[in-house]
Symmetry: C2
Subunit: 577 residues, 2 copies
């Protein structure tokens, strides 16, 4: 049985399995979503209209025994940026889909009328089930009930929440974590709103009878994944007992704060002593005390295990992971330095189907606009609850940072291409700013993680204050695009950037699955193909170099305490691609 | 005394008169505002940030005895479209400014803190007066009080209202009419928000001691304006007792409804029998009955006199003019067919400083989003009042059609470059659709009024349903840009398109003022220079041909009763420029 595309037509409530076209044979993840979106979606279409499509694709090695590879890419035209978008998440949903040999799900059309549907996918059948009963409900309880209803052994769930019902441009696409919590997000760019716009609220997949991923050359594959595993187990960042394993992604709080690049109060300062209270170290301790789980994997087969389950004392009200990005966005960036409050905010985001980064940026901008005060945790929670209540204020917030900034007359709006900036101030750490400005995705740290060489000394060591960063950002963007196609988690990059055998192993594992004979030198080429496709789409959608820029306040305003400005020239930015 | 530029620095509350640079000597109106904006404003700047500027410029013959020439252009980078913007109005403010030999006012910088200022300009002095007392107040009463305070003989007022205080992207710049009502608007594109963002709330000009417009060759000038006057008095559309004079711009209601191109209920149909109730004919009768004024000039020296003063019975609560665009936007497009309600809505718009076209489009989209029902006049008034109360809902609405559509999950959003469409459905009347799509201004009927040849048989006669309209739109856009520089009202075009001597007279009057030797053949070249500058600005701001498009629903959805779609090809659109 060859790999398949599952095409779901929401207009007619019909679904069809198609053989994967030969030209897509070696594509996966972001490579496949971006290729399909570019081929099938008119670049100038309304992202929430009938011509947009939503594409799901597991990575090339996803569903195999390759370590740390349970990633799924979600693609479409973004209602937040107006450009092409790939957001990805680690979840067993990805692995099951891959084992069912579904290389991609393409959701197209839109339901006539206002009904929402749950689409249940088994190995050889697709069922459309009206699901209006769950409209307006939080995802934590909904997922629990859906797992009960559909059996919890072999199923995974993908869904959108109330934010998406509002067509909010910061609505993410949620996937279950191993506990069944709605905490794994393809969060960025509002793809949740695209899913809801089609009348699709949940996808439940049941892999019973799935044939598993076909592996062209088992020997090559095994040799490859052994090298990947060895590299992950050897590198300080990724090994058991390493930084990510012990403290999760929040290990970065102290590090980036130390580097004077942890944005506080809507990017008004790069450092605050109180950040320690919300550090990875502090969090790990609290989880231990409260009876949560740490470390923990987001999907089976992960070696790094950076994830966790945050709970209230006694293991109550599990949230799932509190990522660095979420802790920063809902914490320091809002002047909030209390993990309990941050966890509550994060839980509300997961419950409503919100991207935590965009939510934190949005709340901070609302604070700057005078809606509530910086540091007001209760107020922040109240703002998120406005979305649940679908009030006008909630509708403003659900549309993200730029929208909220405009609504409240704020001019310091930290976005690129309409997407809110992640947890690094580009004035203090300029390479990541180059990535924010130039990636086709809008401000996205995962698109070319210059923090690795600039702060962590991984893959080389460069001065974060040096404004010549086009080459570093470009190389990382190409490598990342390739990695996003493989299904491996981006975090294996820490190991394979420093350990050549690890990278070799990645390539061998791809060759093992695909029967190809790629070399390490092909990796940036694969990345370039993907980014070329994405940039071409964006160009046709109306993007120019004028959009590859940071907001003017990063150039005009010095960032305390370093007093740096974003002094990367436009020419340097334009030389990235 | 040569002509001057008055540069107002709101950051330092300083003002300076500068001699008009020689290269600006023959420019006026839109020609001058667009040239200055392109030269001094960085195209990628935040429209509400410190780098944007607001420019006021009377036309070349404004302030002279040339008939129907009391126009002022207001320019800047638009917070609604993100591109360059020129909006213009007919008002004695323009004439006084010209007679003070102020070719342009350039407002730059922004007040530190939250205070608002009134800037009082006399012939040789500028005064900054704190005006926080008028924040949050309606403009009708405010203008009345300001006229009292500053003396009403030789002064004119320009101001922004509550919508601009919110930085709403549909906030217009208001000017007084001859009665002192705040009813003359440079409405489009949110330039009111730009003015407010600088901390500037009012400009009061007092022309006492003004030297008057310098005329280089009085004889040539007089000969020219005589020809213009003769043409205006001869043409059916512009003469005394002609269509505009008798019924105002609303004479178009029945005509466009007949042509099946009068959009109803957010562009869902092109015709409705009830439109007759809000026609120019019905309105003229009501004004007569109620004791209003009709006909009436918006600024002294107008021959056409299309304006009026609508009042409640007994001449109470004067509104000012009810333009065709306003009657359509707040009426038919919202399913409202009652002139009394429409007048109340229009009064609320004037009072809050709102562009009536954008307001009507916004309310209609809110209706489509289920906020209130189509036809609910009381509800519509309630929505506008939300802006006065500065509620979250009011903040949504104040940001215009596209913003409101996004907030309420609407996909049928009638905008181009973010600006709401005027009163012509481009499916039934395609040439005006070409102008909407391609003008640098965003959807703007005044930028190239193809209705003239398509519907009125002025300047030729073409089939409105024929999709080959690039050439007509281009020619009209060039002629219009030139006309917008002269200071003559656009409505003289009806006469001079049909009467060659009229056009000759316009050119002679320019030569008379400027001492130039322009010919009729130079007119499109002048227009092209202006549009080239504007398009270059927009290109640098990030605009491409992808933005020269109508929303997809005009292509996807047939318009009853003609069942036409907008079938102008992208190639045809791209061939305009």
């Amino acid at each position: 049985m060859v790999k398949r595309i599952l095409r779901i037509d929401m207009t007619n409530l019909k679904a069809e399995f198609e053989d994967l076209p030969e030209e897509y044979n070696t594509l996966g993840g972001r490579g496949l979503t971006s290729t399909i979106v570019a081929k099938e979606v008119p670049p100038t279409c309304n992202p929430l209209g009938i011509h947009n499509k939503l594409v799901f694709a597991p990575g090339i090695v996803t569903g195999t025994t390759a370590p740390t590879s349970g990633r799924i890419s979600v693609g479409g035209k973004s209602p937040l940026t107006g450009g092409i978008k790939e957001a990805n998440a680690g979840t067993n949903f990805a692995q099951r889909l891959a084992r069912m040999r579904i290389a991609a799900i393409i959701v197209e059309g839109k339901v006539q009328g206002n009904d929402y549907y749950l689409v249940k996918i088994t190995n050889d059948n697709v069922e459309f089930i009206k699901t209006d009963i769950w409209v307006g409900k939080g995802l934590y309880n909904t997922y629990k009930e859906l797992f009960k209803e559909f059996g919890d052994k072999k199923i995974s769930i993908c869904g959108v929440g109330i934010a998406a019902e509002l067509r909010g441009a910061m609505a993410g696409v949620s996937f279950n974590d191993p506990e069944g919590l709605p905490s794994r997000y393809a969060g960025r760019g509002g793809l949740g709103a695209v899913m809801a716009s089609k009348g699709l609220k949940f996808i439940v997949i049941d892999e019973t009878g799935a044939p598993g991923v076909e592996i062209a050359d088992q020997e090559v594959f095994e040799a490859g994944i052994t090298k990947v595993r060895d590299a992950l187990l050897a590198h300080d960042v990724t090994k058991k007992g390493g930084a990510l394993n012990l403290y999760g992604t929040s290990v970065l709080v102290n590090i980036i704060n130390e580097a004077q690049g942890l944005p506080q109060n809507n990017f008004s300062s790069g450092q605050d002593k109180r950040a320690e209270k919300i550090s990875g170290e502090a969090k790990a301790e609290a989880i231990k005390k409260n009876g949560g789980v740490r470390p923990h994997f987001c999907s089976p087969g992960c070696i790094i295990q950076c994830s966790e389950v945050w709970t209230k004392p006694g293991g109550k009200d599990p949230v799932g992971v509190l990522e660095y990005e979420s802790v920063w966005a809902l914490g320091a960036n809002c002047g909030i330095y209390d993990l309990n409050i941050i966890a509550e905010l994060n839980r509300a985001c997961n419950d409503l189907g919100l991207d935590t980064i965009e939510t934190g940026d949005t709340i901070a901008v609302a604070m700057e606009g005078g809606v509530i005060k910086f540091g007001d945790g209760k107020g922040a929670l109240g703002l998120i609850e406005e979305i649940r209540k679908k009030t006008p204020l909630g509708r403003i917030l659900a549309n993200g940072t730029q929208f909220t900034g405009k609504a409240f007359g704020v001019t310091r709006i930290p976005v690129v291409k309409g997407q809110g900036l992640p947890a690094y101030d580009p004035r203090a750490i300029k390479g990541i700013g180059v990535t924010f400005a130039t990636t086709p995705m809008g401000a996205d740290h995962t698109a070319g993680y210059a923090i690795a060489p600039e702060i962590m000394g991984v893959g080389g060591k460069v001065d974060p204050r040096d404004p010549k960063k086009a080459e570093i950002s470009r190389n990382l963007q190409l490598a990342t695009a390739a990695l996003d196609a493989t299904g491996y988690c981006l975090f294996i990059a820490f190991a394979i950037l420093d350990i050549p055998e690890g990278l070799q192993g990645v390539v061998e594992s791809l060759n093992g699955v695909l029967g190809t004979s790629l070399t390490v030198d092909d990796v940036p080429l694969i990345g370039k193909q993907i980014i070329d496709i994405e940039r071409e789409f964006n160009k046709a959608a109306g993007f120019t170099s004028a959009h590859d820029r940071l907001p003017e306040f990063f150039k005009d305003e010095q960032l305390p305490p370093s007093n740096e400005v974003f002094n990367v020239s436009d020419d340097e930015l334009d030389s990235v691609f």
